[in-house]
Symmetry: C2
Subunit: 199 residues, 2 copies
């Protein structure tokens, strides 16, 4: 693709490496940056550099953190005997937004996916097991995604952790709140039926 | 929103300033950058800084360029008497991809939009008029978008340029190649009818 400028072309190529950004979007972003103020563009570039320099992963739960321990792991008001296992930091953020969970997290940084060559050693499972050995854990909530990979990962973890005598739970799968029974898919609906709870 | 890291939060805010990037996408991009290699992230940041430093607009046609004149304006094989007026550099790229046009361009850098307070003085119209006075132009093709703003801009330019004795044409509007008559909207279909050509 001929953009009339080597640098413009390179910027578009770099933007296209980002997930979910195709050529058209990368072009739009690059032209936006070209027209935007010098300060805005430099602020973005600096934020990216600083992000890589200063933000790493919490040594305990693998959430994003500027220190060895993340703000959640350092929070003394949180319950350390309750651990919620999620796939990614995004999932942790989604749960934090509910304000329903007051324990700690463990971010796996992915899910099992044999087809993509991602096995247990590629996730933070070894670190999770070491953590469960060191600390007294009452319950482990598995909050991996309710899709094929997430369910497989949940099953794998359950088999690994249950023998340690720790209570292992899985987030409920069923009909989304506010949805219509009529328009729900059959897998979700059958899940909602088998997972029914007494009122 | 509490991300557990001030820098992460700032990076997400900066990414959200980009067009079409909401909070969820900005989060996904930031977490991707966090996990990606140091080189990739720095390459992106450097490309953005260099883009702002070295890429500007061609003094003749306002296409992106690293020099005073862009590669198209400098190309002696292109026909200077044929000028294609487009709204944005993206549109120029789209036309270049067809390899059908061998003249020069004029990038307006926007379209007339009174509701957004964008009038003729906010576009590169004055520069276009100066250019038409200085050079011998045989035909001006108006290739603004076939929507309300693009049509208004085309009409405005036509009224301005036609008195100069220059042939002014508009790109054809009709049914997209490969589409179905049945599924086309009525405005497009009526355009296709009035714009019919003898075979």
């Amino acid at each position: 693709m001929h953009y009339g400028s080597e640098i413009l072309s390179r910027t578009i190529d770099e933007l296209m490496k980002l997930p979910g950004i195709g050529r058209k979007t990368a072009q739009r972003l690059a032209f936006y940056l070209l027209k935007s103020s010098q300060e805005d563009a430099v602020a973005l570039a600096n934020a990216i550099v600083e992000l890589k320099e200063k933000v790493r992963f919490c040594v305990q739960c693998f959430n994003a953190s500027e220190n060895d321990l993340c703000t959640i792991c350092r929070d003394v008001k949180r319950e350390p005997a309750l651990i919620c296992v999620v796939e990614e930091t995004n999932d942790l953020l989604a749960i934090e937004k509910t304000s329903e969970f007051h324990g700690l997290y463990h971010v796996l940084q992915g899910h099992l996916s044999p087809l993509d060559g991602i096995g247990p050693d590629d996730l933070r499972i070894r670190e999770l097991m070491q953590r469960l050995e060191k600390t007294e854990v009452r319950e482990m909530i598995i909050a991996t995604n309710p899709n094929a990979e997430g369910e497989a990962t949940a099953l794998y973890l359950m088999k690994l952790v249950k023998p340690l005598g720790i209570k292992v739970t899985r987030i409920a799968r069923g009909l989304p709140v506010g949805s219509d029974l009529e328009f729900s898919d059959e897998v979700t609906l059958s899940r909602a039926l088998t997972g029914r709870q007494e009122m």
